[in-house]
C-alpha cells in the first residue's frame, strides 16, 4: 500500500492548526478581560 504521506500531513497539520487556534482564542479572551492588559504592561521593564 502506498504511504499516503499527504494524508498524514493533512491530519497532523489540521490538528496543529485547530489546537493552536483554540489556545490563542483562550489567551486573547483572557487578555481582553478588564485589568489584564494594564497588568501585563506594568510587568514590562
Amino acid at each position: 500500500m502506498p504511504d499516503n504521506w499527504g494524508f498524514v500531513l493533512a491530519a497532523y497539520g489540521l490538528a496543529a492548526v485547530v489546537l493552536v487556534a483554540y489556545w490563542r482564542r483562550l489567551v486573547r479572551r483572557e487578555r481582553a478581560l478588564p485589568g489584564q492588559s494594564s497588568r501585563s504592561t506594568a510587568r514590562r521593564p
Binding site: 502506498p2 499516503n4 494524508f7 498524514v8 490538528a15 483554540y22 489556545w23 478581560l33
Partner: protein, 214 residues
Amino acid sequence: MRVVGGVTLVALAAGLVMAFGVAPREMTQGNVQRIMYLHVPSVWVAYLAFAVVLVASIVYLARGLEGADRLAHASAEVGVLFTGLTIATGSIWGKPTWGIWWTWDARLTSVSILFVMYLGYLLLRGMIEDPDQGARYAAVVGIVAAFNIPLVHFSVYWWRTLHQPPSLMKPGPGTMPGVIVAALMVNFVAFSLLYVYFVAKRVRLLRRESEAAA
C-alpha cells in the same frame, strides 16, 4: 499554569518523536497508519472530557458548587474540540484505507451524535440568560449525553461496522507490538496533559469572566 504548559509541550514533542521516529512503518497500511497516534489519543481525551462533565454535573446538581459547573463547562468545550478532531482525523485516515471519507456506520454515526449532543450542551448554555438556570439545564444535558459514551465505544461490537474494533481499550491481552503500544501511551499522556492544560486555562477564564461581570 506555565509549568503545565511547558511539560505538555515537551510531552507533545515526545509523542511526535515516538509516532514518527520510533514506531515502525505498519506492514499493511504503510505510513498512513501513523494517523492512529493522533486519532486514538483524541478520542481518549473526548471520553475523558465527557466523563468529567458527567461527574461535575452530578456534583453541581447535588451541591450547587459553581466550581463544578465551570469545570463541566470547560471540559465539555475541550471535549467537543477533541471529538471534532477525532472525526476529522478519522475521515482523513478513512479515505486512503477504506476508499471513502465518510460512511454512516455505527461508530461514525454514534460519535457524530456525541459531537452534536455536546455542541447542543454548549449552545444551550449560551442561549439561557439566567446563569443558574442555564447551569442546571446544562448539567441535566451533561448527564444524559454521557449515556452515549458506552454506545460509541461498544458500537463496533454491537453492530456490523467498517470501523475496526478497539485495539487497546478492550479486555484481554493486547495484540499490538510493544513499540506501537509505547508510542500510543506517550501520546495518551501528552494529550491528557493537553486536556488538563486547556481545561485549567478555560476554568480560570470562566471564573475571571464571571468576576468581571459581577
